[in-house]
Every structure is written in C-alpha cells, then in structure tokens.
Symmetry: C2
Subunit: 155 residues, 2 copies
Amino acid sequence: MMTSPDIPLRTHCPLCGPAPSGLLWEDAQLRVIRVDDSPFPGYIRVIWRSHAAEMTDLSPAERDHLMRAVYRVEALQRQMLQPDKINLASLGNQVPHLHWHLIPRWRADPCFPDAIWAPGHHDPVRQAAWQQQAQDLSARVPALHDAIATTLKGT
Amino acid sequence: MMTSPDIPLRTHCPLCGPAPSGLLWEDAQLRVIRVDDSPFPGYIRVIWRSHAAEMTDLSPAERDHLMRAVYRVEALQRQMLQPDKINLASLGNQVPHLHWHLIPRWRADPCFPDAIWAPGHHDPVRQAAWQQQAQDLSARVPALHDAIATTLKGT
C-alpha cells in the first residue's frame, strides 16, 4: 500500500507511515482500524493520516470529515452490537497523532461504568458472566468489521 | 433561568433541567460548564441540553453545532493555557446524557500520559512540582472562563 507523498510524516511517530495492521478502510485523509488486542469487543480506532495532534489543528472541513467517519462507525457499532453505551475519546497523550477511540460498552464489561482506562473490576462472578457475553459479542465482531468496510466504501 | 419547554427532560437525569453550577455560556441547544472540583486546571464540559445519549442520536446539524462549540472551547484552552495536550471524551457511562469532557493536560499532571480516569502517580517529587505548576495555571483559569463566555456569546 502506497502512502501518498503529500501526507506529512514524522519519522518516529507510530501512527505515521504505512497502515497499521487491522486496517478496515481508508481514504486520503483517515484510516479506520479494528482493535484486536482489547477486552472490549468491537473497539475501533479512526486515525487521521497527517501528523496533527489536536482537532483544532485541522481545518473545519477536515474536522467534519473526520467526525463524519466517527459517526458512521458509531452507528454501525450500535446497529451490529447493541452496546449499552458508546465511548468516544481523542486523548493522544502517549501518541500525539490525532486518533479517535470508539469503544462499545456493556454494563457487565470489565470497567463499566468507569472509563476503560480505569482499573477494572476483579469480582470473579462478574468476570465469569462477562466472559460468556464477550464470547457471544466477539462472534458478531467480524460482521461489524465487514459492515464498516462495505459502508464506508460506499460513501 | 428558564428551561425551554421544548427540551425533552428526564426526571431522574442530573444533566436535565436547570443549569448546573459553573455555567459559562448556553444557547438553546447546549451548555458550557466549568469544572471546579478537578485537579486539572481549565477542565470544561460541554453538555447537550436535550436528553440524548449518543452523538448518533442527534441530527447531523445538531452534531455539528455541538462539535463546533467543543472546538471553540478547545481553541481557547490552547490559547490561554498552552497545555501539552487536549483530551476530548464523550463517555456517559454513569450519566447517559450527552456531554463532552475537554481536559487540558500537562506532562507533569497527576495522570499524564494516561487518561485522567487512570490511577494517578504517587511520586512525592512529581506531586510537589505539579502543585506549583497547577497553582500557576489555576491563576490563569478565570481569564479562560471569561474568554469562553465572551467568545461564544459573539458567535
């Protein structure tokens, strides 16, 4: 996959350069990535391709383009997985290259109702119940990924 | 302050109804609130007035209106406080009424580079250094609040 030469890159930034694994869809400005190494089924990241740190580093049209992709993915997460809540976050403290976390949440998940960055719960009964639910949800995640790739391609 | 009768309210939702304390600015659709009970100077919340849980519960025009307010506040936080990073998050797991957290972050703050919902650091040397920086920043926060109220009024 070629990286367009007009996209500014930072040599040491892990989100600059070739697409990371898990690419579901990309256009000239952004990439939609599935997050596989997470206990939260259906977790997706939307990554701006140029090296910018903050939403207000983008032009208004670029912000709108990025958020429209976020909303499309959120709508598909809700439609395909019926989570109890969606969490959206642009943090970037560790990697200051603009990317959005889109995390479906369930009441039984390891951190609910706290943010996924909070310490998890360690109640064995709760953990066992979540394990079954997470397994059922994970079986539906490939269809979510297909829907994201197909739907965003059509836009 | 009157609540417009056409704004749907949920009886038991803490973000429905009259404006909470710390109101900096509001229009018919959203409120901008300063967060006073936080160790993060300049922390602001932007709260949608109607009871909606997710960005995709809003119309596209409503989403744009909400995010434009978020960007205006982010720009002022950067201009007035020069943080090392801005964190944006719409979580709502505890209060599923759409609200955005806008959190200026500094390398020395109690959680950096983690999310503010992660366990903080407990290094006394680091804590002492941050205490001084936080005090200096807090002295600049009233000017940020004034700028938010003045700037958003003019839009």
